[in-house]
Subunit: 133 residues, 2 copies
DNA sequence: AAGTCATGTTAGGTTTTCTGACATGAACTT
DNA sequence: AAGTTCATGTCAGAAAACCTAACATGACTT
């Protein structure tokens, strides 16, 4: 729920832009959606609108495809990754509960300053950071 | 010529997205282009494609319009700002020429680490940072 | 009252995207 | 070898988004 997450999940890009950014064809992108690897938002007029997160995900998918992983495999990988992230979040919360107020303040301040070190997982993955600072 | 500048000037957004991001109408955006306050790129099919810089600029324009400045005024402001930025760049280069190698290394390292403090001018201006970290 | 400015509105045309269907080649299975 | 499955290509018809150009309008200026 950080501001950053909101920004990264804001639906902004039509499929044409995503095609260029990812070097995937429209057909591929729609196919991956069909297999529920991504779930881009839609405009009122039913056009897909992709977020930065979606694009990251597509770049990950591309990478995995290149390495020979199939749809089912990718879906599983995403699932595992998701679980891992959840656990880590739980762990975070738990640790926070154990902190004194002073420690908490320091921690929050750190999170705000250079927010998000966790979250970028260890998988070799898509990286849109080259598009935005 | 920093990577960041390249990213910020990459044409990504169709006019519909820009409308939502800036809360300007298509008519307004085209009008500002007509008066050369912005120069969005075009696709092969002649559709406008806006960069983050374009959007920043549109937000600045909106701000200035709200403050009663007209097209000519905004154009002048942009001109002045541009000149100012150029001068500052010249100044930078000059200062660099006067540095020892060691000083230069430190300076460059700094520029790379948190690049771009200069460049965001002092004008109250559009801010897209709320969309991207 | 006439003119200018910024924007709205409309019209006709072009481009982009949508879904669904069928085609294809590579990799597996039998 | 013949048949499947998978990932993607290609095509068609429809809908949405965008384009330019023109005219309309209301708020200011002169």
């Amino acid at each position: 729920m950080s501001g950053k997450e909101i920004r990264r999940s804001m639906p902004l890009f039509p499929i044409g832009t995503v095609m260029q950014l990812t070097e995937l064809t429209a057909r591929q992108i729609r196919y991956y959606e069909e297999h529920q690897l991504i779930s881009p938002a839609r405009t009122e007029g039913n056009r897909r609108l992709f977020s930065l997160n979606d694009i990251d995900r597509l770049l990950e998918i591309k990478d995995l495809i290149d390495q020979g992983v199939n749809m089912a495999g990718i879906k599983q990988l995403f699932l595992v990754k998701q679980q891992h992230a959840n656990e880590q979040e739980q762990q975070m919360k738990k640790e926070k509960r154990e902190l004194t107020d002073e420690q908490l303040r320091k921690l929050l301040r750190n999170e705000l300053l250079h927010s998000g070190r966790l979250n970028r997982s260890s998988l070799r993955q898509g990286d849109l950071s080259r598009f935005f600072h």
